[in-house]
């Protein structure tokens, strides 16, 4: 049995039930909402190994019609399924190589898109 002094001290130092319920509600609401997101996995949704999101292919184009295929593994020490690489990789490649003219992004189920370097 707890002694009275322990219990009084214990309960005094507990946060209000409202705060505890708010914490629990947040932990339920966020992953529930993310179940309805258009793609999986999403961060903060506890969607580990729930789906595979194939990394797009990136074709580099230089002036004079010379091209090359990017090895994404050389660019990323850690690849994450949650990240939409099609959005982030082309600007990065353009910034890295000032001679690059454009990057063609090929994603599964979509038509290839060309991103012009500035």
């Amino acid at each position: 049995m707890p002694n009275t002094a322990d219990l009084t001290g214990s309960l005094r130092s507990s946060p209000s039930r409202m705060v505890l319920w708010a914490w629990l509600a947040l932990q339920l609401v966020v992953p529930t909402a993310l179940l309805f997101a258009p793609s999986r996995p999403r961060p903060f949704g506890w969607q580990m190994y729930s789906a595979t999101r194939p990394t797009p292919a990136f074709t580099l184009e230089w002036p004079g019609d010379s091209t090359g295929l990017l090895d994404i593994n050389a660019l990323l020490p850690r690849r994450r399924g949650e990240i939409a690489y099609a959005r982030y990789v082309p600007p990065h490649l353009c910034a890295q190589d000032s001679t690059l003219r454009s990057v063609v992004v090929t994603e599964r189920g979509k038509a290839p898109s060309r991103v012009m370097c500035p």
């Binding site: 309960l11 992953p31 190994y49 660019l75």
Partner: protein, 274 residues
């Protein structure tokens, strides 16, 4: 159960040793994860590395600041582990994890997020009341508030629950996702070869059922012991079949935090018996 939980959040008390054990386990994981990230950081933050902000176009923390945050993470994790200046250590540890997480989407991993949540919950608890250097002298209380234990037990069940619900899609249930993860390692590749496509569908459906069962059974007083045994085997299976062993070990240890309390949250016996 929800009504009982409402009572439990305010009224449950636990032995300080329960929270001390949880703190020690989370502390060990926090130290290990900081060492792994410190080793990986130069490649993730190098000048040629692709940095991915949480909001497109937003400026990011520079590499040096992130590395300083990782060192703070390591030091705070050691203090958290041994219970030295516990509140300050927990605050510093949570802040440094949050800084690293927010610096780049590549630092997001579900177990790092879980680590952050557990550090916050334990940081507000009396988790330095046992197995701690700050415990010296003075009479230690026999019982401390049990709400952090309850919330951690619920948190881990939430992880299992949404782990299962998010797998209810064709890609996963067809076995393709599991095969994709297993094919990266020798044991998994062998299993994929033996199981065939029908076997992979069975494995995938079974894993969803298992995670759902764990989510509810860990909160049940009557099924708790069985759930702990099954859960440990399930995590060992993950570690053996999927080659991301260090990350999966860390994830498993964090999930085991909720296996440590001797009782489920919403039971009369748990009020003061542990």
């Amino acid at each position: 159960m929800p009504v009982r939980l409402f009572d439990d959040l305010g009224a449950r008390t636990v032995s300080p040793r329960v929270l001390g054990n949880m703190r020690a386990l989370v502390g060990v994981v926090a130290v290990a994860k900081s060492l792994i990230l410190l080793d990986l950081a130069p490649r993730m933050l190098g000048p040629d590395a692709l940095r991915v902000p949480w909001i497109f176009g937003l400026p990011q923390l520079d590499a040096q600041t992130v590395q300083i945050a990782l060192v703070v993470w390591l030091v705070a994790a050691v203090a958290f582990l041994i219970g030295w200046q516990f509140r300050a250590a927990a605050l510093l540890l949570a802040a440094s994890i949050a800084v690293v997480l927010s610096s780049d989407q590549h630092f997001f991993q579900n177990h790092v997020y879980l680590l952050l949540l557990l550090v916050i919950l334990l940081g507000f608890s009396a988790a330095d009341g046992a197995l701690s250097v700050s415990q010296r002298g003075g009479a230690a209380p026999q019982h401390v508030p049990g709400w952090p234990v309850t919330l951690i037990q619920w948190q881990v069940s939430i992880v299992y629950l949404f782990g299962a619900l998010s797998k209810l899609n064709i890609d996963y249930l067809s076995g393709a996702t599991t095969a994709g993860a297993w094919l990266n390692g020798a044991t998994g590749s062998w299993l994929v070869g033996v199981a065939g496509s029908a076997g992979m569908i069975t494995f995938s459906v079974a894993s969803v059922v298992l995670e759902l069962w764990l989510a509810f059974s860990l909160l049940s007083q009557t099924r708790r012991l069985a759930a702990i045994v099954v859960g440990v085997l399930f995590h060992l299976g993950l570690i053996v079949t999927i080659p991301e062993r260090a990350d999966l070990t860390i994830f498993s240890l964090l999930m085991f935090t909720a296996y440590l309390p001797p009782t489920a949250p919403s039971t009369t016996a748990s009020r003061s018996a542990v």
